[in-house]
Point group: C2
Chain length 230, copies 2
Amino acid sequence: MPITGMPEVQPGDVIADLLVAAAIAGGTPVEAGDCVVVTQKIVSKAENRLVPLPVDDLDARRALIESEAVRVLRRRGELLITETRHGFVCANAGIDVSNVDAGVAALLPVDGDRSAKRIRDALRAVHGLEVAVIVTDTFGRAWRRGLTDVAIGVSGLAGVADLRGGTDANGRVLQVTEVAIADEVAGAAELVMGKAESVPVALVRGLDPGWFREASVDELIRPYAEDLFR
Amino acid sequence: MPITGMPEVQPGDVIADLLVAAAIAGGTPVEAGDCVVVTQKIVSKAENRLVPLPVDDLDARRALIESEAVRVLRRRGELLITETRHGFVCANAGIDVSNVDAGVAALLPVDGDRSAKRIRDALRAVHGLEVAVIVTDTFGRAWRRGLTDVAIGVSGLAGVADLRGGTDANGRVLQVTEVAIADEVAGAAELVMGKAESVPVALVRGLDPGWFREASVDELIRPYAEDLFR
């Protein structure tokens, strides 16, 4: 369910308070057991991860991207496929120049898990709501066209979960078991968020209670030693 | 919504008939405007994409994978990251040895779009239901841990759609606009499918009517010329 009617988020705003109020006003109040999905854009604004970036200054843009990246994997024209210090591989170090003021760029949150935890803790402490929180961003993929939303921070929900039993219906041990729950929830949420610029929050209800646990987005980062494409 | 109670699918079975009956029996009948998500496993069985593969015969397994792949991108032990003739990049050419009889392997459908269209056409012609159909499989990703379900065939639903307007809330032209709708729907569906081995079909209801159009999974394949990782 989309949470419509969120105000424009400003540095210092408490996202938990804003989204609870907007959800009530919109007739879909947050409930215990929900997963609250919040886009990077408003998290970066609330955390004042905004830096000046002159419009059309490609040199400044490239320098900012390189300063935010720990590694550039590929480069084509002004597109840089980068690894961020969080371990995410994404275009242009995740720096966002849409939906911010002209001359400003939004950087990724310093620590997406901490951002998610801050929202979750406030929902619990101030509003009495025990939920999970995912912070999402929109990344491209290798090999496949089109962007999808993925988790860049989680609190209270598994990043990766064993969705299947140990054996299949024929008693054979299954070879693949680990599913990227938080990324699938992020993508599901985008399906109700993407149309209007004013929908930076969604609720996903009815997730398996077994997936609610302490977790980190690090579960979703493939370690170098396992990674065949980095 | 998961469609529970599907029977074991056999070669020649008409998936449309089976899923309509199971959905009615389960109290969640298919409705016009739904997107019906069907996993590769039962499509491959219905289309008799089953080949003998002796258990624990690694040489035969490798030969089968290589015969189904057009290219091997990476190789680590018995894991091969392959490109299939459809253009999908996935482990082991998408060959599935779980949930089939011992000594048998299930190959990917020859043409996932045609598989989806066959189900969709039968739902329309026999059951009077105008829906979209996605055939899905479970693939790994570069850089990120955990598998997600993605589309390997679509009929009646966009693979990639422009989710955002041409400009952002500040009037700035948005840089990224193309979202992999069908993959996000596939991932959302897996969230209700993965727990039980007997849930190979799900319904996704409430998708934007604007996304329903003639389409091909080719929209989701990044062309070589654009692909920085192939």
